[in-house]
Amino acid sequence: MSENYNEIMQLLCDRLSSMTNTGVQVTAETNLISQLSIDSIKLLSLIMEIEDTFDVSIPINALADVQTVRQLADLVHKIKYTSE
């Protein structure tokens, strides 16, 4: 995939590592729920950062289908770089 995509993935992995501080190596396949225990407050901060960094708006309904870092990166990329 593109440079843009890698940039998103990199930011997500970095932010999630420092945010959760569990010692888990965050990769594309990391499960946000079972491996990182992202609680609702952390999730909100993460979404805020994503929205501010990439100037996008993450629709809440789309998060219902997100469980891994890759799925989140796909979502952000889709919103940012594909115009419907």
């Binding site: 407050i41 629709p59 309904n61 998060l63 219902a64």
Partner: protein
């Protein structure tokens, strides 16, 4: 009207004279109305709307950036709702049939809600999905509500209609599922709309995220009107200069009754922010209050905590919260500390702590039960912990140094309502004694829809509603000391222990009645959910897999993390009837893990 008042009340973006039909730029509805204010006192919702529609006030919807995205004056709401009602009539449904609506913070939801009432149908609001990875469980929750409410029609905006279509598959009563847009393409019937009777059901309010046993509270027009009148006349003393701002979800009783219906029956304007947008940027709510000079705004304590957490010094200088006269606090246990921190942070932005208005209520009593005194702030009482735990009696703290608890004064019942405290034997207790909180009055629900078993548990002889909460009365004022073990509140969300246990029992490794869920509180008031499972698995990998799966399921269903403890069979304490006791399970867990300082007086028997 003096020019000063006009200026003070002019909402943001309303730089010039009010122009309702401005095409280019949206203008929020004004604060001051052209109509003489009536404080409730209507027979039905639609008659209240007919009156409000004669004025120029209404609902305003803001986006995440704080820009106005839609305006729905009551006048237009009436018109659109009546038009939609004609299309609903085309389905030829029996009067009182249910219409399920996924309630995002949108004009469409409100229009549809009122359209149902004009058409003699009963709407109920369903939540939007808010948790990561919740797709499958959310669909199950929706299906549970569609089935329990026996909905004939399901409606959701484009973002959510896919979930609703999935949920409706195989649900027997459902005749049609679609978006408000599709509904408005149906032919209009052009029938005369029949007025509603006060004894008819106004709406159902679901109170649980259970997939198997959701409970839909039945609220009649009479109960609703009674509660609204108490709220706006006695609780809030609404005035013509009032304006509200809200981020509360429309599918919660406080959001719907308190911040959609109460403003309408007093013909005042409201500024809405979607819950999601508030949760991500809580200060947008305060900015709305500041810019539009809002006077009445409610929140759960958790919402105040979010604001205090996120605010930066630089934000404060742009805020002027001096207009905020009624900062209603409810929907969960109020810790005075949360309010103190908020007041400290925002006093430099003009927030007056006397605006705090603690109240107590629940969906089973429409919304409000008690209100504290307007303009007096949060009052609390310090009591001796030891006598509280040992004797279940409240004694005011005499000397410093003893271990103490502080409880918030939630005030007195609305007129026509009585609160009493009863012991485990059901006998009324005197003041200062801690027991179950019961409520009687016209706001109390008719029952849970199509669920006589749960109704019987909640409604006692004499139509006393057992609230499920624990508290005491002191000089006529109500103080809540805790919830019973069947409700756990985490980050502002009410979660029924039973719903978590039910999720666990759906796993092949877990037998029914071998799971127990409860909440454990930290010193700082943070609640953690603990799920104890009696487990026969011996292999470490299988045990870990079960734990991980359960944590994930609970997260997807309720958006919270939980601790899962596997214990050998027969560890969980049971009552003489073989029922699990959550209270005893929690005591056992506390002993096993050596947790100290856990409050042990909050529970009585599970309802």
């Amino acid at each position: 009207m003096s020019s000063t008042i006009t200026k003070l009340n002019a909402p943001q973006t309303q730089a010039f004279d009010f122009q309702p039909s401005s095409e280019l730029k949206l203008t929020p509805t004004p604060t001051l109305n052209t109509l003489i204010q009536k404080l409730a006192g209507f027979n039905t919702l639609t008659s209240a709307l007919e009156y409000a529609a004669e004025g120029i006030t209404g609902y305003n919807f803001y986006n995440a950036k704080g820009n106005l995205r839609a305006v729905l004056p009551y006048r237009l709401l009436k018109q659109n709702a009546r038009d939609l009602a004609q299309r609903l009539l085309g389905f030829d449904l029996p009067r009182g049939s249910r219409v399920a609506i996924i309630a995002d913070t949108s004009p469409e939801f409100v229009e549809l809600f009122f359209a149902c009432r004009y058409a003699g149908l009963v709407p109920f609001a369903m939540p939007i999905p808010v948790n990561l990875g919740s797709h499958a469980i959310y669909v199950q929750q929706l299906r549970g509500m569609l089935e329990s409410g026996q909905a004939s029609i399901g409606v959701a905006n484009l973002d959510y209609v896919g979930f609703l279509e999935e949920a409706a598959v195989g649900v027997s009563n459902i005749r049609w599922v679609g978006t408000p847009g599709k509904l408005s393409e149906f032919p209009a019937r052009n029938m005369e709309l029949q007025p509603n009777h006060p004894d008819e059901t106004a709406y159902l309010q679901f109170t649980s995220g259970s997939t198997k046993t959701p409970r839909g509270v039945v609220i009649t027009e009479r109960a609703l009107m009674c509660n609204l009148q108490g709220i706006v006349r006695n609780g809030l003393e609404i005035k013509p200069e009032d304006r509200s701002a809200s981020w509360l979800p429309f599918y919660h009783d406080m959001g719907l009754v308190g911040l959609v219906l109460a403003p309408m029956v007093t013909q005042i304007s409201v500024d809405y922010l979607a819950t999601r947008d508030f949760a991500i940027r809580p200060l947008q709510w305060l900015r709305l209050i500041s810019r539009n000079r809002c006077t009445v705004a409610f929140s759960q304590p958790f919402g105040l905590k979010l604001c205090a957490m996120r605010v930066r010094e630089t934000d404060l200088k742009d805020l002027d919260l001096s207009c905020w006269r009624a900062a209603g606090i409810g929907a969960e246990m109020i810790r005075p500390e949360t309010l103190r921190i908020f007041a400290e942070k925002f006093s430099s932005a003009g927030f007056n702590e006397n605006a705090f208005l603690p109240c107590y209520g629940l969906a089973e009593s429409t919304l409000a039960v008690t209100f504290s005194k307007l303009g007096k702030g949060c009052k609390s009482i310090h009591v001796d912990s030891k006598t509280l735990i040992d004797k279940r009696v409240v004694t005011r703290l005499q000397a410093d140094g003893r271990k103490q608890n502080e409880f918030v004064n939630c005030g007195r019942p609305l007129p026509g309502h009585i609160v009493k405290i009863v012991g485990e034997d059901g006998n009324q207790l005197s003041e200062m004694m801690v027991g179950s909180v019961l409520v009687q009055g016209d706001s109390v629900m008719t029952g849970y829809f199509n669920n006589p078993e749960e109704t019987d548990k909640a409604l006692k002889p004499g139509n006393w509603l057992d609230t499920g909460d624990i508290g005491f009365l002191f000089e006529g004022d109500l103080f809540i000391t805790g919830r019973r073990t069947d409700v756990i509140i985490v980050n502002g969300r009410n979660i029924r222990a039973q719903d978590i246990e039910e999720l666990a029992e759906q796993q092949p490794e877990v037998r029914s009645r071998e799971a127990s869920a409860f909440g454990i509180n930290d010193e700082d008031g943070t609640t953690t959910i603990v799920l104890v499972i009696e487990c026969r698995l011996t292999a470490a990998t299988e045990r870990q897999s079960l734990i991980t799966r359960l944590q994930q399921l609970v997260y997807m269903a309720f958006g919270v993390n939980c601790v899962v403890e596997l214990v050998p069979p027969h560890t969980l304490p049971r009552t003489s009837s073989g029922k699990l006791s959550r209270f005893a399970a929690r005591q056992g867990y506390i002993q096993r893990t050596n947790l100290t300082g856990q409050l042990t007086f909050v529970e009585s028997s599970d309802r």
